[in-house]
Symmetry: D2
Subunit: 352 residues, 4 copies
């Protein structure tokens, strides 16, 4: 395939961490050409001013956000914008024939009320919303393949749902007992100047936040309920960990059948993810480390059963900016374009 | 009180992190004189060879472990040794009139069977064991005051028990629902050359360990059961966090009475710890950070109720080497000697 | 001395890291009472809103900056403000009888031209400036004792000057060969939301900044020239290191007399700092670590001679927020008030 | 090219960080097949026991070190062994027709005396030594292409020599003024259980080590002298920085011609490295960060001139385990095999 055949892609909201991951991934994607970078605040700046390490390799300038221009130049558009912005662009881009992947929360809900309750944004694009597919390929691969609009999940739902999906799908646990204790590196907070994300503040420390009220909860519950076929409420507690990248979800639930042992569950998990190249079930007695995923689209999952308490404990590790954000979006794009889902995506970390 | 009246103290096993915290704390304790440092491996070495930063201030040499010498010189003895060693020394020291604080697991159990099951050490000093007091002053202050032998709890039980004690003591939760998701800095692993504790391995990463089988579980359960008056099994999952010091326990439990709200629990916690100078309940909407405790004997506790799930979530933060180890031992010593429990202990961290 | 006899102190610009160190130090200073906290941006806020860990202990509210109020309530005033602000307040406070310690660059220069060249601020308070003493007690102790206005040096000049002063004072090196390669934790950048100080940006990385043009250079040169009695130009390169606190200056210079060996220099350094309780010369073959100084007012200095190159290499470690900022200011205050310079200051770190 | 045509490669000493980088790189190298992993201590173990994250992808077992076996199976052999071991294997492997890349110091010297002085190992393989090429392709590309034995430089010499080579080669500086202040992440210390490399010890701190006597000094001097055509002594000071990967060398030297300005030097550097794909000169006013190189074979170089002191300051950043070790060895292998030097090597980092 020569360069002229490459698919043209645009990134709107390119200046953040999601944007720079997309740029970095797409630069080495064999079938993609970056045709447009948009951002109102940084418009006119060279992308390499924001990320000087790319200066020798990438010479694009950030342009003002203009739907006409984008649609003219790009077949596929990634929206990497704050919540409540993308939904104003997506319908127009779709109408002009673009395929759209939104990295915000705007298209993760199939129900306007839940979205509005969590994000406090009034909108009336129910029709567009109804066409959006939840961009977690391991759970919705077939739907993603035929989608023109994908709402890509964030890091917490990705890690948590991959950990718990086999249990819910197979009805192995008591749904009301699900507790998700999640831990994230600070890059999840974005490239925004917030005092609490300064190294001086966030290093050498650990704390929970958004306890009992984090807005990823309804998103997780929506998908859990869909998987289980019944309404589910989960306990979700995010923590901020002194590291740049990486997320670990430790998920607890009571087994419906206390006779199940660890090996049974490992078998079930391996089967569930058999055709998912990016999910790796670690063997007996090994627990996943977030570092194993750094810079890759991998998710490592470890499973343990406590026969004393009849609980299953599942641990899932991802790179919050990759499988938890940009790389998963590229995985979705690959599927939407009819390619292997693994094309152009890093499959193995460097250690240590 | 002049120097000649100071109480003489010995530290056996002084070369580890517990030892150096004790040395550091006791050096600035107004009523203590360090009279002996013991350690078989480091015997003959100046302490400052191991910790050069103390070189200008502390000139003691580590001596071979010899009970006669210790008892002759010291009124109080801290045993900062690996599990399964201290119980060979303690009875002799007690017999010679020393007061003993053991920092290992050897005297944390009131039941030889539980100890042996967890630590795989056969012993027959049931009598001595029966006299030991569990060195968590906030729960056993009066007993500590009159003890001659104290088994000081480690960091995980300290953080977890302080978080959950008010709930169990007042019967506010369903005991079988207790889940403790705990996170620790790597200094908890000691000054031992283990590959997994190298900065190159342990930085930029996060993982669980000892899932469903960590040996602090029976210790936590013993005290929980004692507090609740019924046998309790808890789910305890420790995690290793890329930071030197600090521990956070996030504890989940179902409320017996779903009508309780956060403010009720804050009132209960404040009352429970009213006379405990080192436990601070943080107000509504604030969650504790481990960094607040660094270098101090403080424990910060935050409480949240989720009315959607009828669960209480309690977060407790300590410095694992201080309130979780050496400083708490000094707090116990203060009580054993009839002093204010706060004497000579750091009460406020530096931030950031 | 009872409470009514305590000296009243005010802190203007209390919300930053300098401010919170001052609050923390003065809270435990036996002879001080904090009587005023000022800050225009945070006026009206409780200090504990900014630093919740102090909530149980410190209940002051930040007030608008008003000279009358300050002078009425405070005998001593710390100005912890951005460069170019303090010089507008200091003259008025002095006139009303306050003793003033300025933590910015405003009173570090004895020459308006140098100040203006470096900080681009036009001012005409030459008279006040002439009365200011450079607040590095190890070099200007006697002057500080009688000062009413002290310009406290920042972290880079403190670490660098303490490392090099004995060499310059004794004429042991060729002045034009001085190179200072300095490394700082990121808290030196202050509690400001700058993208490059985010943990996500500043962790796992290292770089120089301000090469060949950092504005601490003229300040260092001014004092170096004063010590040497001749005009000196130094090469100064600061680096940002992924840690919260701590600063290391590695200083290189060619020895005038190549016959000098390490032991000679250790003798000279020990003699030079004999009456300086906060400076510790480490013995042969040991090099200082920044961690040894964390939370203290200590400076550790190591010295090495390379007989192959006739160079001396001096390494000095401090806590940038303590000896490099707030604690050193308190040390100066102690001297100004006729007290021991060590009163109320931390003298030993916790390790690790 | 189908699999049967791939070049077979062996790694002796595979269990360390050098080994795992080689495995990781060669696994994704399109023209290589890993045919042998050797190590006496880990013989019999699956490689994935040492590095579980590779478990799903790499199934090799570590074998005892046996020259016959290696030579039979492998065309190219990497020796990733401690200093003083490889020189016993290399001659035999060469004799049997293997191409050998040694990652230790054993073949970095062209002079047995210098090697023995630095490493205290007596040996008499002068003949083999004489055939070895110094594996820094940017300086010795043509020699590497025809070599059968390459002594790969470590991280400090690589970063330092790339920074200074253009200056020495062109005679732009006074050779006796060269000072190299180098800073390294702790992974450079290897996967060895050393107390000072524990996270608890090495995090939150910074110090120099090996001052005035580090054994990389003679290696750097050998190449510097070769480049300059005269004997050169450099001042080299390594520092340990609290991060896993990354190295920054800050190099100081006095310009021979004080008229040179920064832009002149940028031109010279760009020309010097014009055909070196892995060296990137950053433009005016930008300084390299180690993070830009993480997981890649890149070296970023920044140049500054201080007209006040007539000094040039050069900063070079590399990943110490990649360009500073394993990836550079693969770059050499590519050249030895007649391929593009960039084949199979990561060319762009992920940020942040």
């Amino acid at each position: 395939m020569d360069a002229s055949e490459k698919i043209t892609v645009g990134i709107v909201g390119a200046s953040g961490y999601g944007g720079v991951q997309l740029v970095r991934l797409l630069l080495e994607h064999p079938q993609i050409e970056i045709a447009y970078l948009g951002g109102n605040q940084s418009a006119g700046k060279k992308f390499a001013e924001l990320y000087p390490y790319l200066g020798h390799r990438f010479h694009h300038t950030i342009e003002p956000i203009d739907v006409e221009t984008i649609a003219e130049r790009c077949q596929v558009v990634f929206l990497s914008l704050p919540n409540g912005v993308g939904y104003k662009l997506a319908p127009q881009l779709l109408e002009k024939g673009c395929q759209v992947l939104d990295l915000s929360a705007d298209y993760r809900f199939n129900d306007i009320k839940s979205y509005t309750a969590a994000y406090n944004v009034e909108r009336d694009d129910e029709e567009t919303m109804a066409t959006a597919v939840y961009g977690l390929p391991e759970l919705y691969r077939e739907q993603v393949k035929t989608a023109t609009l994908v709402g890509c999940p964030g890091c917490y739902p990705t890690a948590s749902l991959l950990a718990i999906a086999p249990l819910l799908k197979q009805g192995l646990i008591l749904p009301e007992t699900v507790i998700i204790d999640a831990k994230s590196g600070t890059s999840g907070g974005g490239r925004k100047s917030k005092v609490n994300l300064l190294l001086a503040e966030a290093d050498n420390t650990l704390s929970a936040y958004g306890v009992a009220g984090h807005r990823h909860t309804p998103e997780i519950e929506q998908i859990c309920s869909h998987l289980a076929g019944v309404d589910i409420r989960v306990q979700f507690t995010p923590h901020l960990v002194p590291m740049v990248r990486g997320m670990l979800s430790t998920v607890y639930a009571n087994l419906r059948d206390p006779g199940l042992v660890r090996d049974d569950l490992l078998t079930i998990y391996n089967a569930f993810y058999r055709s998912s190249d990016f999910v790796k079930i670690v063997p007996n007695g090994v627990y996943p480390q977030t570092k194993w995923t750094t810079g890759t689209n991998l998710c490592y999952i470890g499973v343990e059963v406590d026969p004393r308490t009849d609980r299953v404990i599942v641990m899932s590790a991802i790179d919050n900016l990759m499988k938890g954000q940009a790389a998963q979006a590229v995985q979705c794009m690959n599927l939407m374009l009819g390619w292997e889902e693994t094309v152009g995506l890093p499959k193995l970390a460097f250690y240590p």
